[in-house]
């Protein structure tokens, strides 16, 4: 990011804690990141790494009974939105920051037509007349490449396939031309063939509309073809950040190396007969948080790793990593 392009969204040491019983545990643990105008960024990590909690924190959609932001700032256009009251957040959501959810099957109201559901957002935020909102809805449906949008606007969600529904959700999210789009695993619930189409659609719309995109995914294969920068999260912490090409060429964190090693295409190109899986699982939220949290699964861990958490350090231009041994291990796994 250059100074000429100030970040539209920036997280500063964001910490979101989840309450379990009497105690609370960090689901997002001091994550900082910046997203420039029109930039695309992916957040990668296994299930349970805090990716979705991060997105919900940004949207202000945390259930206050369960989780809340305890420290850090979320800057949208320079103003902190982490602790805005709900009624102020409501005007931002859907208009300035939008989100696409994982399940296209259940994210649409079954009793309203899709045209109505797209129009609803526009009416809410821009106060358009019902007629104008309906026109905008048809426009949006054609923008997301739904064939015959004018007649399809009268369809109910159950009359559409999963891919079509995800297109409708994208249309809803983009109806007010937001400046930031959070896509939380937008393709996980779809067929593989449809996944590629939806990703392509999201990317082309991102470029056309010049909005910033945060793509949350556990699939590095998805990342490779789409975004320009990647943040790798592990157990609520940011462990590596790099440009996509840099990350694939020189993964510095053993976790990133593990994720890449478990990609079928990459394993094949390296002549491996079996996929290299990362042993073990992400530590549960309730696990003690001392030292490097990846140490228990790390093939390169030394005693020192378990004692103190490594800070993020620079290993290249725009490439940071949180690993004690990043320097000595070099590029290869």
């Amino acid at each position: 990011m250059t100074d000429a392009n100030p970040p539209v969204l920036a997280l500063e040491a964001l910490e979101t804690r989840v309450r379990i019983g009497r105690a609370s545990f960090p689901a997002v643990d001091g994550v900082s990141l910046e997203l420039g105008q029109g930039e695309s960024l992916a957040i990668v990590g296994e299930s349970g790494c805090g990716k979705s909690m991060l997105a919900l924190s940004v949207m202000g959609l945390l259930d206050p009974q369960v989780a809340r932001i305890v420290s850090g700032r979320i800057l949208f256009d320079g103003t902190d939105i982490a602790h805005l009251p709900q009624h102020r957040l409501r005007t931002l959501r859907g208009r300035d920051i939008s989100m696409i959810f994982q399940e296209p099957m259940s994210s649409l109201n079954p009793v309203l037509t899709i045209g109505r559901q797209v129009a609803e957002v526009v009416r809410q935020h821009e106060g358009l007349s019902p007629r104008a909102a309906r026109e905008r809805a048809v426009e949006m449906l054609s923008l997301v490449q739904i064939p015959d949008p004018r007649s399809r606007a009268a369809a109910y969600p159950h009359q559409l396939s999963g891919g079509m529904r995800q297109r409708v959700l994208i249309a809803i999210a983009l109806a007010c031309s937001p400046r930031v789009l959070l896509a939380d695993e937008p393709t996980t619930a779809l067929d593989v063939t449809v996944q590629a189409q939806i990703l392509e659609l999201i990317m082309s719309l991102q470029q056309r509309l010049g909005m910033a995109l945060v793509l949350i995914t556990h699939d590095l294969g998805v990342v490779a073809e789409t975004v320009s920068r990647v943040v790798v999260m592990y157990a609520g912490r940011k462990v590596e950040e790099a440009s996509t090409t840099d990350l694939f060429a020189r993964p510095a964190h053993p976790y990133t190396q593990g994720l890449l090693g478990s990609l079928p295409s990459r394993a094949r190109s390296e002549g491996l007969r079996r996929l290299r899986a990362i042993r073990g699982v992400v530590p549960p939220l309730t696990a003690p948080r001392q030292g490097c949290l990846f140490a228990s699964r790390c093939p390169h861990a030394v005693d020192g790793c378990r004692e103190e958490a490594p800070a993020l350090g620079r290993v290249g231009p725009g490439h940071t990593v949180a690993c004690w041994r990043a320097g000595e291990l070099g590029d290869g796994p």
Binding site: L61, G94, L108, N109, P110, L112
Partner: protein, 299 residues
């Protein structure tokens, strides 16, 4: 995929009258369901007989003809006469007007009040705690006793009888609606709506209300049937509609003393009550199956 021009035509027609499209689709599916078809036809016949009572019955339901007392059903008096010589055919048809009015009014009032209270209870945790304790209180008293007590306090008359029957039934509707709202509130599309900055009031009206109508309609048919029964009980016990106006319960109450020599006075209005309640329940069951999204696609 259907051929485009045809699909275009049908779908734009559907969009022209959107709610009507849904209602028409439901009605046409109801018509194809044998249970619903039978229930609906029976109910329509009963309703028609009540509405058209003055045309269908030549005799005055209130005219006393002492000489013709306790006549068995015949060509002149289709359903016979009662102990005061009044034509039972005319009385039963006219009585249907009252009984059906009570049933429908009760169902409508219960639904509206129950819906409003249930939505609030389901949506606000604080109101929920308060409202549900009051509802539990009402439910703790046996409905029929509460209705008798209320009817005694406020006196006879259609409006007071409807009130007496509606009060014990409202908590039932509140529970149904609240339960539906509680599950709907957790739906992804409600969360999605929140993520789009939709205000809580709008979420309630646009997303939750339309989705809770189906179980409510089903509940309303049961309450309608129940109200007709309770009205009959109350009138039979003398706490209901004043005897000068015939209702099915009333007619049975008056025939009580003559059941051994003129059993038709009780049996015929009783059969009408049974037929009405049966048809409403059949219709309610069919609607329940049809409006449930999980079974809807199978039909």
């Amino acid at each position: 995929m259907r051929n485009p021009p045809r699909a275009f035509r049908t779908e734009t027609q559907a969009s022209a009258g959107k709610p009507a499209g849904v209602v028409a689709a439901t009605l046409s599916r109801l018509w194809r369901n044998p249970t619903a078809c039978f229930g609906g036809t029976l109910l329509a016949l009963l309703a028609a007989s009540a509405v058209l009572a003055p045309l269908l019955a030549q005799h005055d339901p209130l005219a006393l003809v002492p000489a013709e007392r306790l006549r068995a059903p015949s060509h002149e008096h289709l359903f016979g006469t009662d102990m005061l010589g009044r034509d039972l055919y005319a009385r039963v048809l006219h009585g249907g007007r009252l009984s059906l009015t009570v049933g429908i009014l009760t169902a409508v009032i219960c639904s509206l009040v129950g819906l409003a209270i249930g939505l609030v209870a389901g949506f606000s945790r604080l109101a929920d705690a308060l409202i549900m304790r009051v509802m539990d209180g009402i439910m703790a008293i046996p409905g029929i006793l509460l209705a008798i007590a209320l009817a005694t306090i406020v006196g006879g008359g259609v409006s007071t009888i409807v009130l007496a029957i509606a009060v014990p039934e409202v908590p039932v509707v509140v529970r149904v609606v609240r339960g539906v709202v509680l599950t709907l509130r957790e739906q992804t599309y409600v969360e999605a709506a929140r993520s789009l900055g939709t205000r809580p009031g709008r979420i309630l009206l646009r997303h939750i209300l339309p989705n809770s109508l189906a179980p409510l309609i089903v509940q309303a048919t049961y309450i309608c049937g129940l109200a007709i029964l309770i009205e009959a009980y109350l009138s039979f016990l003398g706490a209901g509609i004043p005897p000068e106006f015939p209702s099915w319960g009333n007619i049975m109450a008056e025939g009580r003393g003559f059941v051994l020599i003129a059993e038709w006075i009780i049996l015929i209005p009783g059969a009408f009550v049974a037929a009405t309640v049966l048809s409403l329940n059949l219709l309610g069951d069919a609607l329940r199956d049809m409006l449930d999204p999980r079974t809807r696609r199978a039909l």
